[in-house]
Amino acid sequence: MSVAVDIITIVAITAGAFFFLAGTVGLLRFPDTLTRLHALTKADNLGLGLVVLGLVPQAGSLRGGLKLLCVWALALLAGAMVSQLIAREASGQRGDPAMRHDGPPP
């Protein structure tokens, strides 16, 4: 039983570390501010979620596990708000964004 739990922990945390790697690579490689914002918010939030998922079985108590999930929920909520704010700020700085106007959905 505890071996199975440990395997879940190792797989989830390793996957989490991979997404932190991807987030950092994207932050350094992507060509402009807005694409880098995608790399940062999407990859790192998933990385944090997977690390939390791996740590929850090791928390030892129900409250400890729930508290870890609260930290992740707060980070996810904050990421959803902050990414929009930074995107608005960064796109407002561009003089003339190359807009592609799409009609309403069919």
Partner: protein, 165 residues
């Protein structure tokens, strides 16, 4: 609905529901030691008053029954979003076609539109980057993706989960 005592009752019911949710959150964060509870009650009361002030009880809200499927849907989307951005970042050819897409949103300005913008910021390859009247401007990693139809599907899912009192 227009009866004032009905409205007061509804406000009290909402206030109680929020206070219970905040108390549970406080117990998870701070522990259930009885000696700490007075501080928790003060914090919960202050937080409930603040929440009613900043986010007043509106005519519509998310249905608690449909909240679960909606949360699962967006959890799945945020996993897909992480995988999408990870392979684009690690691919040596750096496959990006960044650009802006304008989407006409049916939700009026307010909490429903804010919820839609927050949820769609988790979708693969899109981040809300501004408003143009009734339209939201999205920045996309790949404008060749079917962004508009995907946003329409998410909008339908969210509208389905909103219950009008």
């Amino acid at each position: 609905m227009s009866n004032p005592s009905d409205a007061l009752g509804r406000l009290m019911a909402h206030a109680l529901a929020r206070a219970v949710a905040l108390l549970i959150l406080w117990l998870v964060l701070a522990g259930s030691d009885l000696a700490d509870l007075p501080a928790g009650i003060v914090a919960v009361l202050a937080a409930t008053v603040t929440s009613l002030r900043l986010l007043p009880v509106g005519p519509s809200r998310l249905s608690p029954v449909l909240l679960g499927p909606l949360a699962l849907r967006f959890l799945y989307q945020s996993v897909a979003a992480g995988i999408d951005v990870a392979w684009r970042a690690l691919d040596p050819r750096l496959p990006l076609r960044p650009g802006f897409v304008v989407y006409s949103v049916c939700f009026p300005l307010g909490s429903a539109r804010n919820a839609f913008a927050a949820l769609t910021s988790l979708l693969p390859g899109t981040v809300p980057a501004g408003d143009e009247g009734s339209r939201l401007v999205y920045h996309c990693l790949d404008v060749d993706q079917p962004v508009v139809s995907q946003l329409a599907a998410e909008e339908a899912a969210l509208r389905h989960a909103i219950r009008h009192d």
